[in-house]
């Protein structure tokens, strides 16, 4: 093999693509449910929209809250099912298309990492299809995974361009950093402590600004070089991996401490860095720990259950899962959720029927169990986090400017049902009701 071939097609530890894909998919599932859904109300507001691509504007209907929320619920569910079962290439392509349409339908979603995630999902289509047992049980545990190496190159390109923009005067002077850190009290405390060393304020800002650019270059180099470290025993490669991991966690972790609206970008980048830079043994330990409950249940096997005929088992599992998925959709009380639940439940039922006629029953049962578990996790996530409260409050904020008071009241009342403790809007609701009573005849 040529050097080029060795770089792209040489061995990598199987656990790395496995961890990268699974962690990103689980994060994506929660991200879609908890972060995307609350912002769904703005889609189609004022009958105005601009898609990311002109051709999409020409072919798509005006996006609506139901379309966006329903799509994101399905995207989360699909990511969850693929993460749990491994899925197949068809499901991965479907996830890529639906997720990409989710952000491309409107420039309301301008997060660059959503585009990066589409690139990652595209790479996942070509990842080796591995299961936890493939990664954990004996053997060399190395695979040829060109798509995994391509992700490293792609992420390196991201960091290189990000570092290049930091040569501009606005960044290099530290002005942007001053703005970002200005509201952080703990940062101000640390900053003033460092200034006691005698450095001038301007010099220190410039130093930090340049250090950030250097960190990004270090991370980019680490991605390109360390991706081949599993095939090498060179000590410097492992040191570079630790350096890359430290820089990535330091940079993205510190962003979590400031009030910058970047959603879960830092979490994704730290997860990606961990998959590429952590030692193989640590990643295998992580997989062993994370998959322990599932493996324990699979190995124990409930006897009476396994004695049932395969067809009956499949029918019971798939029909139960379909009902759970549909009911959760109905229970969510969000636009598009009932339709999404019915579509997913229906798709499961059709899969079950096809499986009953074919010889893929076990696989379909796994998918059905994963889908039902995903639906229950979604229900729990929506209960624990203020997804619905935020959704209806964002709607209130928009209607207060553009809508009628009665619409505002209806949205407020919806939000109130899901208000976390201490965030009740009852006072505003009472005031609005009283206002509407007084102006009833106007």
């Amino acid at each position: 093999m040529t050097a080029w071939d060795r770089y792209w097609f040489g061995p990598v530890a199987a656990v790395r693509p496995y961890v990268l894909e699974h962690v990103v998919l689980f994060l994506l599932a929660l991200d879609a449910w908890v972060q995307f859904v609350p912002h769904g109300a703005r889609y189609g507001a004022g009958n105005f929209n601009v898609a990311h691509f002109a051709w999409l504007d020409a072919v798509q209907p005006l996006p609506s809250p139901a379309l966006h929320v329903g799509l994101m619920l399905i995207v989360g569910g699909l990511a969850w099912v693929i993460a749990c079962t491994g899925g197949n290439r068809g499901l991965r392509v479907l996830l890529l298309v639906l997720y990409t349409y989710g952000w491309a339908m409107s420039r309301l979603d301008a997060y660059q990492h959503h585009y990066l995630l589409s690139l990652l999902l595209g790479a996942f289509v070509f990842f080796p299809q591995l299961r936890a047992t493939d990664v954990l049980d004996g053997g060399a545990k190395q695979v040829s995974a060109w798509a995994f190496v391509l992700v490293a190159a792609n992420v390196a390109i991201v960091y290189i361009f990000a570092a290049a923009t930091k040569t501009e005067a606005g960044w290099a002077s530290g002005a942007v950093l001053r703005q970002v850190t200005g509201t952080s009290q703990w940062f101000q405390y640390v900053w003033h402590w460092v200034l006691r060393t005698g450095l001038s304020d301007d010099t220190l800002w410039e130093l930090v600004a340049r250090a950030v650019a250097l960190m990004q270059i270090l991370i980019a180099v680490a991605y390109v070089v360390v991706v081949r470290s599993d095939a090498s025993r060179a000590r410097w490669l492992h040191l570079l991996a630790w350096g890359g991991l430290g820089a990535a966690v330091g940079f993205h972790g510190s962003l979590l401490l400031f009030t910058i609206e970047i959603r879960w970008f830092s979490c994704y980048m730290i997860a990606i860095a961990a998959a590429f830079f952590l030692p193989e043994a640590v990643l295998r330990g992580f997989v062993r720990l994370a998959t322990f409950p599932i493996r324990a249940v699979a190995q124990s096997g409930v006897r009476w259950w396994t004695r049932l005929p395969t067809g009956l088992r499949s029918l019971a599992v798939v029909s139960s899962a379909s009902c759970i998925v549909a009911l959760v959709g109905f229970h969510l009380d969000l636009p598009g959720a009932t339709a999404a639940g019915l579509m997913c439940g229906g798709a499961l039922a059709v899969m079950g029927l096809v499986a009953a006629l074919g010889n893929n029953a076990a696989r379909v049962r796994h998918v059905a169990v994963a889908a039902a578990a995903g639906a229950l996790v979604l229900a729990a996530a929506v209960h624990v986090s203020p997804v619905r409260f935020q959704y209806y409050l964002y709607l209130v904020a928009d209607l207060q400017r553009r809508g009628e008071p009665r619409q505002v009241l209806a949205a407020y009342e919806k939000a109130e049902r899901y208000a976390p403790r201490g965030q009740s809007r009852q006072r505003q609701i009472e005031a609005l009701r009283s206002h509407l009573e007084t102006h009833r005849d106007e």
Partner: protein, 155 residues
């Protein structure tokens, strides 16, 4: 289901490696050229695919006010469009950033809103706290001909 073995490294066959290599090279070229096109452009407001993460553009050192006016035939003074009642706040923010596609689409939408509108004009005036020059932009759409004229300068 048959157990899959991943114990041995099995690179693709030579012909497939060549094919994949071609795909990889094309993909990487696209990934480099797409952001580069943005950086070689004069107008650098639409930074969607340029990886300007956490940069001076994303966190601009100035604040911008925007207004949109509609002109009826023969009138010199325009009627101000109430953006707060017309658009979602997120779109007004996109107008403040001067996103070309959003500006043009909104101007076209306003042209289509009434047959009495002859032209629509968007203006964006930015100010820095230190009074250093900041962007000023004016875009006018002639509803009949569809002609767009744009002016941009630092003031």
């Amino acid at each position: 289901m048959a157990a899959r073995s991943v114990d041995t490294v099995s690179p693709p066959a030579r012909w497939l490696r060549r094919l994949l290599s071609l795909g990889i090279a094309t993909y990487l070229t696209w990934q480099i050229v797409l952001p580069l096109r943005y950086y070689l452009r004069e107008n650098r407001r639409a930074a969607r695919f340029a990886w300007r993460i956490f940069s001076a553009l994303a966190i601009a050192p100035y604040r911008c006010d925007v207004r949109v006016q509609e002109f009826a035939p023969g009138e010199q003074l325009g009627r101000e469009v109430d953006l707060a009642r017309t658009l979602h706040d997120a779109w007004t923010a996109a107008l403040r950033q001067g996103q070309d596609a959003v500006v043009r689409q909104f101007l076209h939408t306003r042209c289509g809103s009434s047959s009495l509108v002859e032209a629509v004009e968007f203006s964006r005036l930015c100010r820095r706290e230190d009074r250093a020059p900041a962007p000023h932009m004016r875009v006018r759409l002639d509803c009949r001909s569809g002609a767009i004229s744009a002016q941009e300068e630092m003031r």
